[in-house]
Amino acid sequence: MMLTDLTIAQAAEGLRKHDFTAVELTNAHVEAIGALNGRLNAYITVTADQATEAAAQADRNLAAGDAPTLTGIPLGIKDLFCTKGVRTTAASRILGDFTPPYESTVTANLLANGAVFVGKTNLDEFAMGSTNLTSAFGAVENPWRRNGDDTPLVPGGSSGGSAAAVAAHLAMGATGTDTGGSIRQPAAYCGIVGLKPTYGRCSRWGTIAFASSLDQAGPMTRTVEDAAIMLAAMAGHDAKDSTSANIAVPDYRAACGRSLKGLRVGVPAEYRAPGMSAELQAVWDRGVAMLREAGCEIVDVSLPHTKYGLATYYIIAPAEASSNLARYDGVRFGDRREGASLDELYERTRHDGFGEEVRRRILVGTYVLSAGYYDAYYLRAQKIRTLIQRDFTQAFEAADVLLTPTAPTAAFGHNEKPEDPVQMYLNDVFTVPASMAGQPALSVPVSLDSTGLPLGLQLIGRHFDEETLIAVGSALEKAADFTARPTFRAGAAA
């Protein structure tokens, strides 16, 4: 077995048994990146030297017996997390060569847990998108291919680089951020596990903001157990983030394999959206059957405001983004286009610095907050959000966890992207409601569709009950026995 094929749990054990060194493990990944990143474009920045150095330190710590769980584990970091001394781009031109003099809380937590960062992964610009086509650093290719078809596919987004890197074994795990599905949807498209924790579980400090009331960091891994291990290291209260929850972080890994006897799994009727493919429906049904088999009780639940989730999201998220992205003005950091006046400097800097999708969302957000429209759009959306949250509260009276598909389709081709932004936004239809309500949610790969592409199912939990997601997710993973691997991966480059 190649070192790049190991899971985090396996590698952690191997390092402690001295089967291999952290330097060997890191080098294997750095080499794989060297071989594949030119094609996949999963990383914007590769930090090979720092990684090797950190791995050498990890080896010393392992030898000294002072080695927290992730010691020596090579991870990819979504390039939305500020990393001290390492250029951070948000996949936007506007940040230029911005090099933060600080480390985000989530990445600092991972470093404190011994992790080795091999690079900064690609994403949709400012995490706005579900294709990774909007990156200023070029599109990411999904490592999967349809059977007998070489069409490059999107990895999903916005954490598309992280998903592709993990799927192609260019990292053992990666951080993602999820605002409306940006961890779960690319995880599903790339056949990996993606966990969006409860809003407030992971600190947002030092992570470039898209929509503050929705953004949440989480792990992207190849197994549920690995996600549990990573989340435990990432999560925790942070006094620097006023919305961070002061709630103890449980031993997530211990939830793997926990008995599901008597656990109630809710199936929300409203997710049976018109137009859902028979194939996706069948995968969902299979998931239901697997959980029933595992001892769960299946219950029907209703989330009546599901159909309004997406439109609500496309008011709230752009509104917050329009304000959050005002700081990119060419004065204190990032790229700048000179102008004769202050406004000209702003307008040129922000025109040239932001890509089309980001500009569009800033404009929509500006519009819905502007005088005379606030009540009709933003305020109304926040009220509907209350209704969406109530839906979940009610559903969780009848069920302990909900099971739904993660995304309406499998990955699609780079050239198959809908021209109409609204059609594009429909990708998030299943992931957005949980984001709106702050619920934790997990995407687990379950099977391949008829063209050979992975499909994932989503579990949605109660606030701060990631443990149940992990317990049910690991059962689903076991039952699904999803062992398929993508065309492009370390050591198997076609």
Partner: protein
């Protein structure tokens, strides 16, 4: 919903995003499409529903003690500046 050009221009100005005429027209059409789609929300009866505050289990705003714990890091503050003059950031002359 259709959005007029003047409004689109005003919004672009508010957001300080310079757009040429063709870009304005494209944006106008796309924003119009998005705003039209959003109108589905008018179906929802929100009478008496409070707007959501805090995304998960709202607690009161945490407060920090009043102590000087930051600052005195001029170089960190200025190191990324695209145009810096001594200890200052710069902008084109602002006339008040």
């Amino acid at each position: 919903m259709s959005l007029d050009l003047a409004t689109t221009r005003r919004i672009a100005k508010l957001a300080r995003i310079g757009l040429d005429d063709q870009e304005i027209e494209t944006v106008r059409a796309q924003m119009g499409g998005i705003l039209g789609w959003i109108e589905i929300l008018n179906e929802v009866d929100v009478e008496g529903v409070p707007p959501m505050v805090g995304t998960s289990q709202t607690t009161a705003l945490p407060q920090r003690q009043d102590a000087v714990t930051d600052g005195d890091r001029q170089n960190d503050v200025l190191a990324n500046a695209p145009d810096r003059e001594g200890p200052f950031f710069t902008v084109p002359k602002v006339v008040e």
